[in-house]
C-alpha cells in the first residue's frame, strides 16, 4: 500500500495544469459549463460499436485516462441505453449490427443525442458500402454530430460531444 501511495504522490494530480493539456482543459471547462446549461447534470453516454475496426474504441478509452478527466467534466459512461442521454456510435454500420443499433437507439429515452465517431461513422470510411456494410451511422439512425478522423483524437471526440450538447435544444430529428 505504501508503494501505491508513494507512486500516487510522485505522479501528482494529472488533471492539474500540464503544458500539453491546455487545449483539453479549455475544452473541459467549456464542456462542463455547457453541460450544466444544457443537461443540468452529468451527461450519461452509452457507447455502441456498430462495426468499427476497434481503433475508435481505443481513443474513446483514452477519454477515461487521467489527462482528460472525463468524470471531472461531468461525463459518465453508462452500461445501459436506458440511462443514456447520448449515444457515441462508431464504425460503418455493419449489416450484422444494424438491428442491434436500431434497438439500442429505440431503447434510449428521448430527448437523445447521437454522435457518430470516426471517418467510418461519418461516411463509411475505407469500408464504404457493400453487401456487409451500410456505410455511415446516419443511414440507420438520426445523427446530431459527426467527428471525422481515423481514429479521431480524444480532444476531437470531446469537442463532438460538446457540439452535440450545444445543439440539443434545437436539433432536428430527421436523418
Amino acid at each position: 500500500m505504501l508503494e501505491v501511495l508513494k507512486r500516487i504522490a510522485r505522479g501528482g494530480v494529472l488533471s492539474e495544469p500540464l503544458p500539453t493539456a491546455d487545449e483539453v482543459r479549455r475544452e473541459q471547462g467549456r464542456l462542463q459549463s455547457s453541460l450544466l446549461e444544457v443537461v443540468g447534470r452529468a451527461l450519461c453516454i452509452r457507447h455502441v460499436d456498430a462495426g468499427s475496426c476497434n481503433g475508435c474504441e481505443l481513443e474513446i478509452h483514452a477519454l477515461n485516462n487521467p489527462y482528460y478527466n472525463l468524470e471531472g467534466a461531468g461525463i459518465r459512461f453508462v452500461a445501459s441505453p436506458r440511462h443514456a442521454d447520448l449515444l457515441l456510435v462508431t464504425g460503418p454500420v455493419s449489416v450484422n449490427m444494424e438491428e442491434a443499433l436500431r434497438r439500442t437507439y429505440d431503447a434510449t429515452p428521448d430527448p437523445k443525442l447521437v454522435v457518430a465517431v470516426g471517418d467510418c461513422g461519418a461516411c463509411g470510411g475505407v469500408f464504404g458500402e457493400s453487401y456487409a456494410s451500410l456505410g455511415s451511422i446516419a443511414k440507420v439512425i438520426p445523427v446530431d454530430v459527426t467527428v471525422p478522423g481515423c481514429p479521431p483524437t480524444p480532444v476531437a471526440i470531446l469537442q463532438g460531444i460538446l457540439g452535440a450538447t450545444r445543439k440539443a435544444p434545437s436539433r432536428g430529428r430527421n436523418p
Binding site: 508503494e3 460499436d49 468499427s52 452500461a79 450484422n96
Partner: protein
Amino acid sequence: MAPASSAVKAVPLLANVRGRRLLAPEREQWSGMAESMKAGGAGLLALWGTDDRDRDGCFRIHAAYLLPDEVVLVEHALPAGSESYPGLGPLFPVAGRLQRSVADLLGLRAEGGDERGWLRHGGWPETFFPLRRDSPATARFARISAPYPFVAVSGDGVHEIPVGPVHAGTIEPGNFRFSVVGEKVLRLEERLGYTHKGVARRFEQLSQSEGQRLAARLSGDSAVAFSWAYCAALEAVTGVAVPPRAAALRALVLERERIANHLGDLGALGNDAGFAFGLAQFSRLKEDLLRANAQALGARYPFDFVVPGGVARDLPAGAPAALTTQLGALETAITELRRIYDDHPGLQDRFREAGRLERELAGTLGALGLAARASGLGRDLRVDQPWPPYDRLAPKLAVRTEGDVAARVQVRFDEVLESIRLCRLLLDGLPDGATGVEVPAAEPDRLGIGLIEGWRGPVLIALHAGPGGAIRRCHPHDPSCQNWPLLEFAILGNIVPDFPLINKSFNLSYSGQDG
C-alpha cells in the same frame, strides 16, 4: 496409403519468412498433407478459398500451416463443378469456424463440418456468395432474421445467460451464451461475426498501392502489424527490398504498438480485478506514449506509417533522442508498477488460477501468440523466423507455463520491457539512408505472403495479384480466430463474474476475426 506428397508439386513461396508452397492436385493429397503437417507439429494458421473459374473453371482452397521454422502453403483446386472439399476439423479444431467463413463467403463446403452460418447472420441470402466473381458488387439485401441455433445444454439446475451483442462498456460487439449451474460456467458458446464488413471483397476494389489503408483498419489495435504484413506480401510479389532505415522504423512502430496495447491491457486487468489505481497509472503511461507518437510519427495511432516500399515519413530531428529519454522513464515506471502488481495480494488472488488454459489443450486448439506463450508454447515469429530488422536484434522470448490470467499478465510485463529494449536498440543504431523505394505493379497471378508477429500474435496477409496493379484476392488472418475458441475452454469451471477479467486477459479482436 502411399505418401501423397510424392505427387505434390512444390513452387517457390514469396514471403517475408521462410516457407514452401505446395500444389495438391488430388483431394487425397490435400488431406494427406494436412495429416503430415499435423504429424510434424504444425498448426493450421489460415484457410481461404479463391474463385478461379474465370481461368480454369475451378475453385481453390488454400491452407497456411505454421511450423516453428517455416510456413507451408497447401493449395488444392477443386474439380470443375465441385463446391466441396475434405474438411480439416478432425485434425485442427480451429478449422471449424474458418471453414464456415469460407462457406459463407465463397460457397465452398467442408465435408463433415458444422453447417451453421458464421459470418452470415441473415444480412444476405444463403445463395449469395460475396467472393464469387459473378456476385455483383452492388448487391444489397433485405435482412432475413432467424435465431442462431446455439448448442443446447440440459441438466439439473442448468440455466442459460445470453450476453451481447452490445456490451456494457467500450468494447466490440459479440454474443456469448453461458450455461451455468449456480455461478459456475458449464459451457460457453461464442457467436461472432457482428462486425463483418466485407473486407475481402473490398480489397478487390482497391489497387495494390491502396490496399495498405484497408489492411491497417482490419483491427485498429494491430494496424501496424497488418500494414506491415500487407506491405511485406506486396514487396514479396514484386521482389522489392525495403531500405534498412525503413525496416528499422517499421520495427520501431510495431514495438510501440505492442507497448501501447500491453499498457492498456495491464491497466484494464488491474481494474477488472478491483484495482483502479492500475488503470489510472497504466492509462497515463499509454497516453504519454501516444502523445510521443503524435510528435515523432505524425499520429497518435500511426495507421498509415508503414506503406508499400518503406515508411511514410522519417523521424523529425531530435525525435530519436526524445523517444529514447521517454522510453527510459517508461521502463522505470513499469518496473515499479510491476512490483506493486506482484506484491498486491488481492490482485494476485484474482489473477492466479483464473481462466487457466493448460499447455496441452492450448496446443490442440492451435493457440497463437501471447495466449500461447502464457500456456508454455514458446513461439514468436520475431524469434523463430526473424525477418529484417529482427534478424539483428535477437529478441528475447517471453514464456510462462501456468496458463492463467496471472501468466498472461506476466507475459505482457516481460514483453513490454523487452519491446522497450528493442526500441532503444533500434533508435540507437538507426541506419542512414532512404525511408522507402518505389514498388512496381506485381506480375499478375503471383501470390505473396506477409507474416508479422503483432502484439496479439502472428497476423497474415495472403495477396493474390491481379493485372495492372489490381488485387485479385486478398485474405487477411487475425490470430484472434485461433484464440477465441480458447476462451470457451479457459472459462470452464470459473464463475460468471470472473468472465470480464478472463476475457480481458486474452483481449481478442472481434473486427479482426469478423473480417
